[in-house]
């Protein structure tokens, strides 16, 4: 077996899969009993796929998202993101992983209230690679693409809900992640605005070839995703 073959094999593997969850289990002890939030979850997301994760409240979709994003460790199972196996990572390693490989758009508290839109994008670079002007150029580009060039110097309080959402998306893309996790991105928006945001998400992800998992319970929005995965009581059904 030549080296070239191995490289090709591994390269295509990591180029192929942004997220691979295998046999992931998450169990919480609650008042002496065990609550199973995730039960043998398997999920694969290709490098440029957008997957909708749909399920009722309490189904475990947030837990799954948190595990995929390196915010939570598993009780059992493997988690590989962008070719990196984070299953046994320490909190410090997870922190660095989140800096490098993942982008988040949360439902609540997405932006730092005392930073302008531009500064909210730059904070990622400040905390991590510190590329300085390269980051500033990228931030301005992203803001432009997101239609927020004239809002760069506004504080979150001065932006509408939709605009804040877009800034959050910009921030999630700043570190060129392998995977972006969206948690209910349209739940606080009306249909029209929601569709705009989903279009934006789809466009940005596809243009960059970035994978995304979109947690949603909104059926109107699932058609923007390549595939829908259902989750009920901690179990995934295709």
């Amino acid at each position: 077996m030549s080296t070239t073959q191995d490289d090709t094999f591994e390269a295509s593997d990591s180029a192929g899969t942004a997220l691979r969850l295998r046999g992931v289990r998450k169990v919480y002890p609650v008042a002496g009993e065990e609550v199973v939030a995730l039960d043998h979850a398997d999920l694969e997301v290709a490098a440029d796929e957008i997957v909708a994760l749909v399920g009722p409240s309490g189904s475990g979709k947030t837990t799954l998202c948190s595990i995929a994003g390196g915010l939570l460790t598993t009780t059992a199972g493997d988690v590989v993101v962008g070719g990196e196996d984070i299953s046994g990572y320490s909190p410090k390693e997870l922190t660095r992983f989140r800096q490098d490989k993942v982008g988040f758009v949360f439902q609540s508290v997405n932006l730092v209230p005392f930073l302008t839109a531009r500064e909210n994008l730059l904070v990622v670079d400040e905390l991590g690679p510190r590329t300085g002007s390269a980051a500033r150029t990228r931030a301005d580009q992203l803001l432009d693409e997101l239609g927020l060039a004239d809002r760069a110097r506004n504080l979150p309080a001065q932006l509408s809900g939709g605009q804040r959402q877009r800034v959050a998306i910009g921030r999630a893309l700043m570190n060129d992640p392998d995977l972006v996790l969206f948690d209910e991105p349209t739940s606080a928006l009306d249909t029209h605005l929601g569709e705009q945001v989903m279009e934006l998400i789809r466009r940005e992800m596809k243009d960059r070839g970035t994978a995304a998992v979109v947690v949603t319970h909104d059926d109107r929005m699932t058609h923007y995703c390549d595939r829908v995965v259902h989750i009920v009581d901690g179990r995934i059904s295709a």
Partner: protein, 370 residues
């Protein structure tokens, strides 16, 4: 307003911070005030007790007993001034007292007064060889009936009773008839000995309805060699009193300003936390003035509680610190005055949050959350 007070009752924890710090600041203010009061009390007791309207010193004395002398002829001139009802001679000598039962180097610091006209808290002059003692001297082991020895000459005097609040320049006083005083001076301080009909100063009682300020000037005009002061002025002239008062009051003033800034700071933080609540209330029809009044009410309650706790602590400190170590006199009125000043500072401090409260837009409260 009611909502504000209810918040205080239901969520006391968020006001704990400001209360704790304000309590500490209030204790400081009361402690400093008590220190000032104690120092001034200990310095001025003997003069405050005088039942007199004017004190007459010689004009080179710079209003101190020790450097003053008033001869018999000067006294006669003073008595001849219209408006003067009575005069009494008064003299002072500061000596260490040997108290039975104390060690050979443990002397009690005393100020022996020879007097003719009895001050308000002191009986008429006792018999020769007897003295009334300031009750602060109890801390030095002095008791009624005891014979104590004054000065290097060990002049004996017998304590026949105690009187209170008659200290002079921080020392406990002894009150004797003039002859006893002269004997003690002659034996111990021959350099300040005075002839039998001279005193260091005179205390003057004025006729009813006389303007004492004018009387003091007239006495000086009549004698040409005296400096007369009203009793209130004489008290201010006691060395150190004026300087202590101004210095302490400046420090107390700045400390109260600090309390105001603390209130401003912590209530500004609280206001930011409650902006959405204020928005909702305004949307429901509350006026800015009502909301601000609620804020002020909270600040007042917090400061009042802090002052009450501080008052208790201050009085406790006062009780624990024995007489003789630090001259502390924390009175109820000092506690109340301090509390009042702190309340004013607190209300002023609230003004910092006024603009924020005014600017809250009720429309923003109705809509999507953060």
């Amino acid at each position: 307003m009611k909502i504000a007070l209810r918040e205080l009752r239901r969520r006391p924890a968020r006001f704990v911070t400001a209360t704790v710090i304000l309590t500490l600041v209030a204790v400081l203010v009361m402690f400093l005030g008590g220190l000032l009061d104690g120092l001034v009390r200990g310095a001025t007791g003997a003069l405050r007790a005088q039942d007199a309207d004017v004190i007459v010193y010689s004009d080179t004395a710079r209003s101190t007993f020790a450097r003053s002398r008033v001869e018999a002829d000067t006294r006669a001139a003073v008595e001849a001034v219209p408006g003067v009802a009575r005069t009494g001679g008064i003299g002072l000598v500061q000596l260490g007292a040997r108290v039975p039962g104390n060690g050979p180097r443990e002397l009690a610091a005393t100020a022996l007064f020879g007097y003719e006209l009895a001050p308000t808290r002191v009986p008429e002059p006792p018999a020769p060889g007897e003295v009334y003692a300031d009750d602060v001297l109890r801390a030095d082991g002095i008791e009624v009936g005891m014979e104590i020895l004054l000065g290097p000459a060990r002049s004996p005097v017998t304590v026949i009773g105690f009187v209170s609040d008659v200290s002079y320049s921080g020392q406990g006083s002894l009150w004797a008839e003039p002859g006893t005083w002269r004997d003690v001076v002659g034996a111990n301080r021959p350099d300040v000995e005075l002839p039998d009909d001279a005193f260091q100063a005179l205390v003057v009682q004025a006729d009813d309805g006389v303007d004492v300020q004018r009387l003091a000037e007239e006495i000086d005009d009549a004698t040409g060699t005296t400096e007369s002061l009203t009793t209130a002025e004489a008290i201010e002239e006691i060395p150190g009193v004026r300087a202590q008062r101004s210095t302490f009051n400046q420090i107390i003033g700045v400390t109260i300003a600090i309390a105001g800034v603390v209130v401003a700071l912590f209530f500004a933080l609280l206001t930011v936390e409650r902006l959405s609540l204020y928005g909702v209330l305004k949307a429901l029809g509350a006026r800015s003035s009502t909301l601000f009044a609620g804020l002020v009410a909270q600040a007042v309650v917090v400061t009042a509680v802090a002052s009450a706790v501080a008052g208790g602590l201050a009085l406790l400190i006062d009780a624990l610190i024995g007489p003789g170590s630090i001259p502390l006199d924390i009175s109820g009125s000092r506690v109340l005055t301090s509390a009042a000043l702190l309340l004013v500072a607190a209300v002023v401090g609230c003004a910092f949050s006024l603009r924020r409260v005014l600017r809250v837009d009720p429309a923003a409260a109705i809509g999507t959350g953060s």
